[in-house]
Amino acid sequence: MLLDIPSWTAVLLTLTTSTTILISRDWRALLGALALQYLAAFWLVTRHLPLAMGSVKLIAGWMSVAVLGMTRINLTPVEDRDQDRFYPRGSAFRLLLMGIVILVSAGSAPRIEAAIPGMGLPVIAAGLLLVGAGLAQLGVTNDLLRVTLALLSILAGFEILYAAVESAILVTGLLAAVNLGLGVVGSYLMTAGSVPLIAPEDEE
């Protein structure tokens, strides 16, 4: 049980960061929370995978955060508009959504633990929390940065769960590529449209 204290701390960190990502409007807080989320995911993944493979996930995740952060910092205020048009979109509604995610995760984690023994309750709880929070985020936003963060959260949750059943190096490598790729695609989409169309004759 003592061994589980760090894992449960990681679950708590996951809960805090995913709630921050769902509620906060400051992009710095969003990316900071995502970086911390990868730290929690790293700890939980290493319950089942060797440290080196867990580190790959952590580094790939942090690289995605860095790519998104560098892109976001360079966007001009005009591009900085909040694209969300969803109602209701207040913090209270998002907190309610997160509450539902917590309830569903708390309800299903013990049942999954019973169905797949050996996975570990903290691993399942954190995985479900991240997937649930990511899905909730996808449901209430159109903003490209938030959509990318939601997809990265879902993938992080999935990776925590999948690490318990699959330990192939190729899968770890490809999942890292997918994480990085999502970061790059998100950055590209955020940048697209801000570059003016220049005809070849204008370039000369």
Binding site: L170, V171, A177, A192
Partner: protein
């Protein structure tokens, strides 16, 4: 030389080289040339068989190992690789006329290489990861850097990303089902997981809303390439599942669910297509309806299942490439491609307009065109299983035919005295003419596809029995 290096590594490198080293002018020829060469090699040099050229012995070994997992092609994969790279060559040569040849040829080659890797990877479940990486690369084709991304592309990447975890988890669960076939709960759970994964990948009703949106927002040629590449490789991936797990194809409920979703896609795609007034959206719904036909074929309880699927799969590349190229040419003059914008354009772009209508009719299953033999074979098999399903598929194709005639009416709607002009370039004319001839050739002589169909029993040995 090993087969995965030749058909995965080489196009990846060639794609990167085209992007960094070549300019717009030569990129399409380089990309098309590389794809055509790979297609010819696949067609004429058997994998894992020694060839003697004078004193020189040439052998393409079938597999390589990467991080403890293998990428493997068998001799039976040769015709399939030839088909994939042959159709890719058409797309890359066609990109010469679209004004984005460098980006298209380089990224396109890399995408096809990744998708081909998804056919070779063992265990084959990992294909879901490679499909996701390829899907992400396609985003760079869909959204030029100067264009603000719309909702369609965001939905596309969300749906493709959600598919991957479902498929990977279902694969792990299916292994459990194999170990304990009597466990109904695991069977049900893995079936649901797998269905969800493929529902996202195939863009099953109602998850296909991103396709018409994307056709409005993005370059038609790039979207056409996406609508060819992803469904084709997903179908082959799905055939792999059906071949590997006997219980999947023997469970009546699963077959019925696949058949029903396919029929629903075809019917809804055809009917919605008939109601559109935007050429891009019409093409999107036609592609949806055709993907529905693949699903309907996958749901058949017939040993001819793989034959029918491939009979429909091969012409799709030709139909969509001709259609997308014609649409790209017309879009330059008639943005944003609504009926009101294209009125009378048949007299200004007769070759593009004619090719567009031919491709449309072929997707609708018009006699003597490339899509016709597959539709006939499907109707024959479908009517034995369910007349109701055959009726709804017929209704969907009828909707496509209606939209083809509406498009034709809009294109020829011009004043009597409007003179005929040919505004297509020679390269555009050549590409469209070759494509249109191909549509007729596959319709008149469907036996051209026989070499591809002949290798199916070795590719899917449990499915074709």
């Amino acid at each position: 030389m090993s087969a995965p290096i030749l058909w995965i590594g080489a196009p990846l490198l060639a794609g990167a080289a085209i992007f960094f080293l070549l300019n717009e002018k030569y990129s399409a020829y380089a990309g098309g040339g590389v794809a055509a060469l790979l297609s010819l090699i696949a067609l004429f040099i058997p994998i894992d068989t020694a060839l003697l050229l004078g004193s020189l012995s040439l052998k393409i070994s079938p597999a390589i190992e990467v991080f403890g997992r293998s990428f493997e092609f068998s001799a039976a994969d040769g015709p399939l690789l030839a088909m994939i790279y042959g159709v890719s060559a058409l797309w890359f040569f066609g990109s010469e006329s679209t004004g984005s040849a460098r980006r298209f040829s380089s990224l396109g080659l890399m995408i096809v290489a990744l998708l081909t890797a998804s056919l070779a990877v063992e265990p084959f479940l990992y294909a879901a990861l490679l499909l996701e990486v390829a899907a992400m690369l396609i985003v760079f084709l869909l959204v030029p850097i100067y264009q603000t991304p719309g909702r369609g592309v965001v939905r596309y990447i969300v749906y493709q990303t959600l598919a991957m975890p479902f498929i990977l988890f279902s694969g792990w669960m299916l292994a459990g089902v194999e170990a304990n076939p009597g466990d109904l709960r695991t069977i049900l759970e893995s079936g649901i997981m797998l269905s969800m994964g493929f529902a996202f990948l195939f863009a099953v009703f109602p998850l296909y809303n991103w396709i018409p949106q994307l056709m409005e927002e993005s370059p038609p040629f790039a979207v056409g390439f996406l609508l060819w590449a992803l469904p084709v490789f997903t179908v082959i991936f799905a055939l792999g599942f059906l071949d590997r797990y006997t219980w999947l194809r023997n469970t009546e409920q699963i077959s019925n669910a696949i058949l029903f979703s396919g029929v629903l896609m075809t019917a809804s795609g055809g009917i919605f297509g008939a109601l559109q007034r935007h050429l891009g959206r019409i093409m999107a719904y036609a592609a949806i309806a055709e993907t529905g036909l693949f699903l309907a074929a996958l749901g058949l309880n017939s040993s001819d299942l793989a034959d029918i699927v491939f009979l429909a799969l091969i012409p799709r590349g030709l139909e969509l490439s001709v259609w997308a190229l014609a649409l790209s040419i017309i879009k330059r003059r008639a943005y944003p491609l609504k009926f009101s914008d294209i009125q009378g354009l048949a007299r200004k772009y007769p070759i593009a307009a004619g090719s567009l209508i031919l491709a449309h009719l072929s997707v609708a299953g018009f006699p003597l065109l490339a899509g016709f033999p597959a539709r006939i074979a499907l109707f024959q098999a479908l009517s034995v299983e369910s007349l109701g399903a055959a009726f709804w598929v017929f209704l969907g194709l009828w909707g496509l035919l209606t939209s083809a005639f509406r498009t034709l009416a809009a294109l020829v709607m011009s004043a009597e005295e409007t003179p005929w002009e040919v505004n297509e370039t020679w390269a555009q004319t050549l590409m469209l003419a070759v494509g249109a001839l191909g549509l007729f050739a596959l319709g008149f002589f469907p036996q051209i596809m026989q070499p591809f169909l002949a290798s199916l029993p070795q590719l899917f040995e449990h499915l074709v029995q």
